[in-house]
Symmetry: C2
Subunit: 776 residues, 2 copies
């Protein structure tokens, strides 16, 4: 096995740029040029109007051009001519589109600075600094005033458009947003194809100029999909310049507005916003007094700073909830993976090929016998989850309707309140609660957002009645109302409506197939997770590099319910009809609990698999899911991530109470995550001891890293438990042998370490490692 | 003044037809011809397949052909090719449309008969006979089985398509329904233009062949409108043949399906269904196990039988509610007409041109002073309504948002819970209740169905909290979700969702600008009214003939909240800036309470106008709104209607209790309607006495009728109060003088009558009359 020794390519303080980045400017700023610098002075932004009166900005990092002069603006829809109708066409006539890009004049500008530290409800760190310089430029086009507000942080730029209340503007429709990001070079890009409906794509890593030639190969099918064109990619788009700059284009605080794709001109490397339209083909219906989401350009000289950046969260509004005491981190198992792998089913009967909710007679339907969410099976999972320190158990396929769901534009797909005959909801909840486990609700909407909204009153009342406090929602299939898309303004409003309604009911939300998050979890911390990317359910097609890219892209907007923890890579072990494997080593799966931070973290595998890998499973039982602080030790998108994290103190204290209560026979399932790590030799919790976890993953390359434990308390000694790939382990070439298979070769050992300790660890191809550290 | 003596053109028992009706058949039925006759044997229907395997039916009345052989069938959408995407077009590829009209084969047929009498919750009569013969034909096209179910009544035909659960069919999409109604002649038609969004049109009366040449003149503008084409009309379509047959094409029980327009071939007189599409252009997404609404062809030889027909109600499902005790008839006033006429406004301030619900500061906004729904004004209406025997008071413009509502595709238009600063909702409700008046809620959705559905939990909770038990909903403006229409399947589902949710909260619904009703009030009797036609709010443009047509068309599906009772026709009296008048006599306005039956009946005028016309207003105070039985004495669409009605006994008994309770100082606002008529000389109620009301209206022609009181109890004597146009009265040429104006010239007198009495009454041009009869 060939080992690759990682060399840290720290761009450090760049003193100059390559010639290509210094090329002359085409769209030069000519009028009322305003300049803004980041607090540390390294990022500098200029804004002005060009000769045509087009608002234009550019961004530099030290002497290096990051964004060449780039245009801002919109196309508005002309106002409807009220009560004028054309009999010929049968449709209403509208005025021509209104150009809201050229011909702007400068009105005024103002600057501001901001510096605060805010406390998170959960996440990678307990406190986040929000420090920026701000420039707000007021422009006028005809009678319309528009403000462009820029916030420049040490790690990037955010800007948005604002339309203040004013005499000349009431309601208006955006057809196109014309925001450009003119890249200064043919950067290496980590991208997925543009789409109005799905992000469940593998990442491609190419030069920007190579996107058009390779995009069709990336466009795999999906239950709902609307691919955009030959040269469009999605946010967040991570890039790396030849000068070693990491540039990330994303969006923050998408509320009442669609998310955007980025149309790429592969020759000029100019990216332009391409908003998801609604069923009429309009992008956004807005009123004066509103504003767009933030457009962001993160710029760092070190990949680790991308992962440590809080740019997106900082650009979101503060927490909207007065009481957040009911929001808690959760480690959970699920009656789910066995369905994904095809051993059992969501559905209950083969007797009906058509299901009409409320009419189909399930009580007299003959069960087909493969239904996963049956009482006996669920109790088995409850027993195992309780015995192994989980907080929750997700159960999918508990409610009627799974015989006939997505793909048919069926409005009333599910009712979210009627269990299958073999799922005794009250009894199973009572049983779970008696063991300190909370059941996690599952609401597959089948993308019938209308039906889901109509069902929410009864569905959430049921959850409250039986003590569910978290729901996994799903949006498989095309959106109903028909003609709409997953990422359009109306559907974005739906997701946000669900989050708000859930908060009223003290329900945490984990949205699958919903829009990619854009940091809204700061404002609504009950949004504890999203899928919104290619997740573990894709099994063999999850490529080794995939997980080393997601934290740079998808996770910038919020945590992902990736569903780690599959310790048995050979899926025949679960379902003999399968012939595929997962391209991971066991230790890479463990490492994911650190590299894919989420307050909602799954242990996705089956109880029997965990029993077979009990020694490795111990790490999953131990690991925390909510953090006081995080230290990114090594990172490179597409290659590797190594991170150390200290569990959040307040959460650990709550967990300690929970463990003690459980020990005393009292029901308490709040914040039990990492309860195992907390227990001392007597099985009692001890939250006074310092605890850390370290994890790493790599792509298809084997890599070795020196791990310096200098983040530990000076002078303290820690018992470290190492979970490391064996020298002959291999997560790429996963042969179909169990037990002795290369993916399952690992070593677990304990070692005392302190702040001065340095150890060298090697990760196998598509391998990883995990370390738990407990102060002695 | 020229008097026109009405001659009753009773076609009676037709023994033959004109030659044109006996023309040879083009689409003759060739295969497996099935015949069905009505219980009385006069209607006969044949069904069969033609040479191309097209399902075909024809309908005869005695020897007279009513519907020539007419095709049935559909165009289905081909199944989506799953996961096949075209990068070029950026959209999903679908297979070609599937012909579901030709190539059918006969599978089987069955017949049945049904005869029952059911009891209504409210309406024109307390008991309705439902008596029909049924033929169900099962057909097969390729693998798909389809049933066509025909029900033949004495007064018409109903048929629908059914798609039973079957192996070859799961979910399917209807692009077109191809149902034909081939008329046997160039009938006189009473029609409004086809539209996907509005029915607020004046009726045209032309030959079928004249529709294309005259339709554009009928297409006035509306806040939401989608006119269809040069030869499309709406249901219900009333026709009259040269042979004196009254033929009415309508639809019944429209659930989970769009309503239809009728495309007319003006040369062949063939009408074809034209369903309202959704935002994707599809007509209906259905599942096997579902069925279409009924298509109906009413055939009578007497116009009075059209008005007395219960065909549409009979084809709807029985009442879905266990408890209907909370549903009650209501006579109400409104803080509304003064807004329609422009004396006051729905809005509160001119300070904001943009309103963002939840953000706009109303408390510090300067009122513009014209807001109608202010505490003082509302109390004035409450006082007047209570003193004059009303049950309810509608108040529009009570909630924030009216400064900026329809026409802008604004999603969050209203929140339905926040009153304007000058509307003290709790205090006004308490004040109203103390006087036996219930406030009627107003929910203008501005056609943002999404926002309304999201708001329902809080909105209906507020209603329940403060004792509102009825809501007037409004759907002004284009539908949001954008791209959709008022009459599409998704929007139909919305209206029905609202009715169901309202029923859960014991709320009665009166939907304005919603889809035309199709008899659903049988199933959901809390749907107490709809506008869904050109109503009183259109003021001067309501033509004299309009109200003589609506009962033949719009009212076939359910009652209309027309808002009668405007006694001051000169609108300058309300708002000096107006220069228009209403083309009614005072007595025609009174007659409407009989000719426009509705359990929710408004007295729309202002208190000060009723004080000025106190003698005529007495009839509005007296008249009942819910009936034991109804006798149509004279009727001809477009010309006149005269009807006698006996108040419902059970309602009168309840009303008597209410009157007594009020008299004793107890609050009781249930079923107070007609409480004035009930009171004896001591002001006490007496429900033991028989009561009748008679009313009549005419078009622009003056007409005289002999009124025979043979419907009264034999031997009993009645005090009759007559409200009759004066000889020089005129509702067409309404000069702008008050008091002595021709529209306001009437005589009121009492006379003792009995069953043998016959009186001759004359109605002025656009005039009418009213009589209240009370057993002595």
């Amino acid at each position: 096995m060939k080992h690759y020794i990682a060399i840290l390519t720290l761009a450090a303080v760049l003193s100059g740029c390559t010639a290509s980045n210094k090329s002359s400017e085409v769209n030069s700023l000519t009028d009322n040029i305003q300049t803004l610098t980041s607090p540390d002075g390294r990022l500098r932004m200029n804004f002005g109007l060009n000769k045509k009166g087009i608002p234009t900005y550019e961004l530099n990092y030290n002497d290096c051009k990051v964004v060449l002069p780039s245009k801002l603006g919109f196309t508005f829809r002309g106002r409807k001519e009220e009560n004028v109708y054309s009999l010929e066409s049968g449709s209403k006539r509208y005025a021509k589109p209104v150009d809201m890009q050229t011909g702007f004049s400068f009105v005024s500008s103002s600057t501001d600075s901001f510096d605060e530290v805010w406390t998170t409800v959960w996440g990678e760190e307990s406190r986040i600094r929000n420090n920026y310089n701000e420039l707000a430029v007021t422009l006028r086009k005809d009678k319309v005033q528009m403000i462009v507000r820029f916030r420049l942080y040490d790690d990037g730029l955010g800007f948005r458009y604002e339309f203040p209340e004013q005499p000349g503007l009431v309601d208006f429709v955006i057809i196109d947003e014309l925001t450009e990001f003119a890249m200064a070079g043919d950067h290496t890009a980590f991208w997925i194809p543009g789409d109005y409906d799905t992000q469940e794509y593998s990442y491609n890593v190419t030069r920007l100029s190579e996107v058009p030639a390779t995009i069709s190969g990336m466009q795999i099918g999906n239950a709902s999909q609307h691919v955009i064109g030959p040269s469009s990619v999605q946010t967040s788009l991570q890039m790396k310049s030849d000068d070693g700059l990491y540039i990330n284009i994303h969006e923050a605080a998408v509320v009442n507005y669609p998310t955007t794709n980025l149309d790429l001109d592969a020759k000029t490397h100019v990216l332009r916003t391409h908003l998801t339209p609604d069923a009429e083909g309009w992008a956004a219906l807005l009123q004066a007094g509103s504003r767009t989401p933030w457009r962001t350009v993160m710029v760092t000289d070190d990949a680790r700073k991308v992962l440590a950046s809080r740019l997106i969260l900082n650009l979101n509004d503060p927490c909207a909830l007065e009481d957040v005491s009911w929001i808690h981190p959760t480690k959970y198992m699920g009656v789910w993976w066995e369905m994904i792998v095809g051993r059992s089913t969501w559905s209950y009967t083969a007797e009906h090929n058509v299901i009409i909710v409320g009419e189909t007679d399930y009580d007299n339907a003959k069960p087909h016998g493969a239904h996963g969410a049956n009482n006996e099976n669920v109790r088995r999972y409850i027993d195992f989850a309780a015995a192994n320190g989980m907080d929750g158990l997700l159960i999918e396929g508990w409610n009627i309707g799974w015989e006939n769901w997505f793909g048919h534009q069926k409005d009333r797909v599910f009712d979210f309140v009627t269990p299958y005959p073999d799922f005794d909801l009250p009894a199973l909840n009572a049983y779970a609660h008696s063991k300190g486990i909370r059941l996690i609700m599952h609401h597959e909407t089948s993308s019938s957002t209308l039906n889901y909204e109509r069902s929410i009153p009864e569905a959430y009342a049921l959850m409250n009645k039986y003590g569910y406090d978290a729901v996994k929602t799903g949006y498989v299939g095309d959106i109903i109302p028909v003609g709409d898309y997953h990422y359009s303004q109306p559907t974005i409003n739906h997701y946000n409506y669900v989050i708000r309604r859930a908060a009223e009911h003290h329900i945490m939300v984990d949205g699958h197939e919903a829009v990619r998050p854009t940091g809204l979890c700061r404002t609504w911390p009950n949004l504890v997770g999203n899928e919104s990317a290619k997740g573990g359910e894709f099994c063999e097609s999850v490529e080794p590099k995939h997980l080393t890219i997601l934290p740079f892209t998808r996770l910038q907007g919020g945590p992902m319910d990736y569903t780690p923890g599959a310790l048995e890579m050979d899926l025949r072990y679960i379902n003999p009809k399968r012939s595929d494997v997962l391209h991971f080593t066991v230790c890479k799966q463990l490492g994911l609990y650190l590299t894919m931070p989420s307050p909602l973290q799954m242990a996705c595998d089956l109880p029997e698999n965990y029993e077979r890998y009990a020694d490795a499973f111990q790490f999953i039982k131990d690991v925390a899911v909510d953090w006081e602080q995080s230290k990114y030790l090594y990172a490179e998108p597409g290659d590797y991530i190594v991170v150390a994290r200290q569990p959040r103190k307040s959460t650990m204290e709550l967990a300690a109470k929970g463990v003690a209560a459980l020990k005393d026979g009292k029901k308490d399932y709040v914040n039990g995550a990492s309860r195992f790590c907390l227990t001392d030799v007597n099985g009692r919790p001890d939250a006074t001891k310092d605890i850390w976890f370290v994890g790493g993953i790599t792509d298809e390359q084997s890599r070795s890293f020196d791990i310096a434990f200098d983040f530990l308390k000076p002078g303290a000694r820690y018992e470290a438990t190492f979970y490391v790939d064996a020298p002959d382990a291999d997560g790429v070439n996963v042969s179909k042998e169990t037990g002795s298979a290369p993916c399952a070769r690992y070593n677990i050992y304990k070692q005392t370490v302190e702040a001065s300790t340095v150890v060298n660890l090697t990760m196998a191809p598509s391998g990883g490692f995990a370390i738990s550290l407990k102060e002695i």
